[in-house]
């Protein structure tokens, strides 16, 4: 039996289903599309991401992928006219990751690569997730949840779990869902 594990492996993360082996498998399945473009081509396809100050774990490209994702996952609607993009949820995710074991961070970064190159890998389109317009991106992202591919469904669930939980825990959202806030604060007259 093995000895004492190091910290990096002692906790399970939201994206632990993305083992290296499975990621490689998906990459190989999609290999035709990826190889057709080539490594340099992939970088060109992704383009430059705007610089973002103060990130602890994510790089600018990863941040942009998450911001693009949040925009279609939690859009401003008539029912809830709160702009998730203004909440800077990717930064919350960055803060979350900063305290996760390295292995979990690596798993998440794999998921972000898959999402960003999803249009190429799964739809054979010569573009990336962040470059799709909102309507195309929304349609593409909806396919993840309904996909026959288990890995895509898993990435969809894991991201939804995190961002929904954080978004609907924001006080400004509550009036639109009929939630008056934590009952203790209400009892103390702190909340509306």
């Amino acid at each position: 039996m093995g000895g004492v594990p190091n910290e990096a492996s002692s906790r399970e993360g939201l994206f632990s289903f993305l083992s290296r082996r499975r990621f490689l498998k998906v990459s190989l399945v999609a290999g035709g599309a990826v190889l057709g473009v080539g490594g340099g081509g992939l970088l060109a396809l992704r383009g430059r991401a705007p610089n973002v100050d103060g990130l602890r774990v994510l790089d600018a490209h990863e941040y942009r992928t998450l911001q693009s994702l949040v925009e279609v996952m939690l859009p401003k609607t008539d029912a809830i006219p709160i702009d998730a993009a203004s909440m800077d949820l990717p930064r919350e995710f960055d803060d979350f990751l900063a305290d996760e074991p390295e292995q979990n961070v690596r798993d998440l970064q794999k998921a972000l690569v898959l999402i960003e190159f999803g249009p190429l890998v799964f739809d054979k389109k010569l573009t990336t997730f962040s470059r799709l317009d909102v309507a195309e991106r929304t349609a593409h992202w909806n396919e993840w949840a309904l996909s026959e591919n288990l890995l895509r469904r898993q990435v969809s669930i894991a991201t939804r779990k995190f961002f929904n939980l954080v978004y609907f825990d924001q006080e400004e959202v509550w009036p639109y869902i009929g939630y008056p806030g934590p009952s203790m604060k209400r009892a103390q007259g702190v909340m509306p």
């Binding site: 399970e12 825990d169 939630y179 009952s183």
Partner: protein, 528 residues
């Protein structure tokens, strides 16, 4: 109700070791001693561990309790999803089965699962006790012998029936529908005293109305001299066959994210009570026990279903779980003991509810806009012991769990019945939050629940009652621990939690674990 503040331990340094008086020491806030020597070390402070600590300390034994979580009390329990799932649950609330089909909720706080449950008091049914005694040879669980331990557990919990006046509108919708269809149900038993109906039982009660291990057994244990160390993660049990075991403990930072330093606890007796997942994980990491360790896991996965009404229900206020439809529950199934299914009212705070909904984008926003008109239930179907806890060479945990066809079949039936119940109670529509979502608007459409595929990661199942993994058995051939709870192949390393159960004990595990820990501790006290 006043919080039972646990006294901080007063430290004294002694040659060759470190001694403290009874009390609590948060190892994230002070340098740990290099080593602690004690007679009994208990790993885990939940229902099993706290009960054992209480009884052993009161009997005059020297007890140390190790808990990975911290003592989060009073106003620190903010009723907010983000910080509470982060601080009160394993893996910051993100733990799941290997393919993400089942979210695994496991407490990580002083007091364990009793701090984050919905207070349901359900003893092990007589049919299950009889099943265990006859089929598995667990004679101490025979109904007549086990009764006194259940009675004592009910006393620990100040168990009572939830008053009618505290059944909230959402649970009353469930009852109204069930009664309309002529289905048997009941207002549930609970362990609340002085409940103010604050509604956030699952993420900690800010007024400490739960008579849980944190409020009952642990204060008594401390009063009797037990030493509790929080932010103390046990990572290995060494020398398991020797007189003195050596437990490697890593201290954590104040928020429990990172390991800081290491210490050793030397103990003659080690009681592992860290939950069926973590207890097996620790034994496997340590190379302790036989090939049964980690096997026979039951997750008892539950599937949410939501009735959406035209009027405001405000299910987030009041006791979230107070009524259960029990018509289809079997307590004496010949093969599995507990079987069938229950439909139990439930509600959560916005973050957790939204995380279970299958929608994204505008549809998701529209779905959550109906939050205050929702009345939800969990479909609870006991499962056969078929899962497994695995620990990879690098230490990574995998909870391998493939849902069996019989479990899917019962959940489909449960979903159909629950849909009928909510429609009978006047729901505009009933949502099964699967991917794709299934919306049922008439009793005729309820049969569509039979279409649920349960393909991996399409139904948001939740597990709150993990059991099995170190099955009690009279012979090493049949289980991981003997009838005293001693792990086979060790000298006085025990499991005193739900790890030992051969099949699902009950629809809720707090009372069973306290009762069985009482029984096992009482037996241990006759030998030491």
């Amino acid at each position: 109700m006043a919080v039972h503040w646990l006294p901080r331990a007063v430290h004294e340094t002694r040659a060759g070791g470190h001694a403290v008086t009874g009390g609590i020491t948060d190892l994230s806030k002070q340098p740990p001693p290099e080593a602690i020597t004690t007679e009994i070390c208990i790993i885990g402070s939940g229902c099993g561990g706290a009960t054992a600590a209480h009884l052993l300390a009161e009997a005059g034994h020297e007890v140390v309790v190790l808990e990975e979580g911290r003592d989060l009390v009073g106003s620190e329990r903010t009723q907010r999803d983000g910080p509470m799932y982060d601080q009160l649950f394993m893996d910051r609330g993100g733990r799941a089965s290997h393919d993400l089909s089942v979210s695994v909720l496991q407490g990580r706080v002083l007091g364990g699962g009793g701090v984050v449950n919905t207070c349901d008091v359900v003893p092990i049914p007589e049919g299950v006790l009889h099943h265990w005694a006859t089929k598995y040879g667990l004679e101490d669980f025979a109904p007549v012998r086990f009764k006194r331990f259940t009675d004592d557990a009910l006393g620990d919990l100040s168990a009572s029936r939830i008053p009618e006046s505290m059944v909230n509108p959402a649970n009353n919708k469930l009852r109204q529908g069930a009664e309309g269809l002529g289905l048997r149900g009941e207002v549930m038993m609970h362990n609340r005293v002085g409940c103010r109906g604050l509604g956030t039982c699952m993420i900690g009660c800010p007024v400490h109305a739960k008579r849980n291990p944190r409020m009952v057994a642990l204060p008594k244990a401390v009063e009797a001299g037990a030493r509790i160390f929080t932010r103390a993660r046990a990572v290995k049990i060494g020398k398991a066959s020797q007189e003195f075991k050596e437990i490697t403990v890593r201290t954590l930072d104040p928020r429990g994210y990172h390991e800081q330093s290491e210490l050793r606890v030397r103990a003659k007796i080690v009681i592992v009570a860290a939950n069926a997942i973590a207890s097996a994980q620790l034994l496997l990491r340590s190379g302790v026990g036989n090939s049964h360790v980690g096997r026979n896991l039951t997750l008892q996965p539950q599937l949410p279903i939501i009735g959406i009404f035209n009027e405001r229900i405000a299910a987030f206020d009041g006791i979230p779980q107070s009524y259960a439809v029990t018509e289809f529950e079997e307590e004496d199934n010949a093969e599995f003991g507990l079987w069938g299914y229950r439909i139990e009212g439930i509600m959560g705070t916005p973050g957790i509810v939204s995380s279970l909904l299958p929608f994204s984008g505008a549809a998701g926003m529209e779905g959550m806009a109906q939050y205050d008109r929702m009345a939800a239930s969990l479909l609870l179907a006991p499962d056969a012991p078929s899962g497994q806890v695995e620990v990879a060479r690098d230490g990574r945990l995998t909870i391998r769990y493939d849902q069996r066809a019989d479990h899917q079949e019962r959940l489909r039936h449960a979903a159909e019945m629950a849909a009928r119940v909510y429609l009978e109670a006047g729901a505009r529509e009933v949502l099964l939050p699967t991917t794709p979502p299934l919306v049922i608007r008439s009793a005729r459409e309820a049969k569509r629940a039979q279409e649920l595929s349960f393909a991996p990661a399409t139904a948001p199942m939740v597990s709150a009652h993990q059991q099995g993994t170190v099955r009690f058995a009279a012979s090493e051939r049949d289980g991981g621990a003997d009838l005293n709870g001693q792990v086979y192949g060790t000298r006085e390393v025990y499991v005193f939690d739900s790890s030992g159960y051969p099949t699902s004990a009950a629809s809720h595990t707090m009372t069973p674990i306290i009762a069985s820990s009482r029984m096992l501790t009482t037996k241990l006290l006759t030998r030491i």
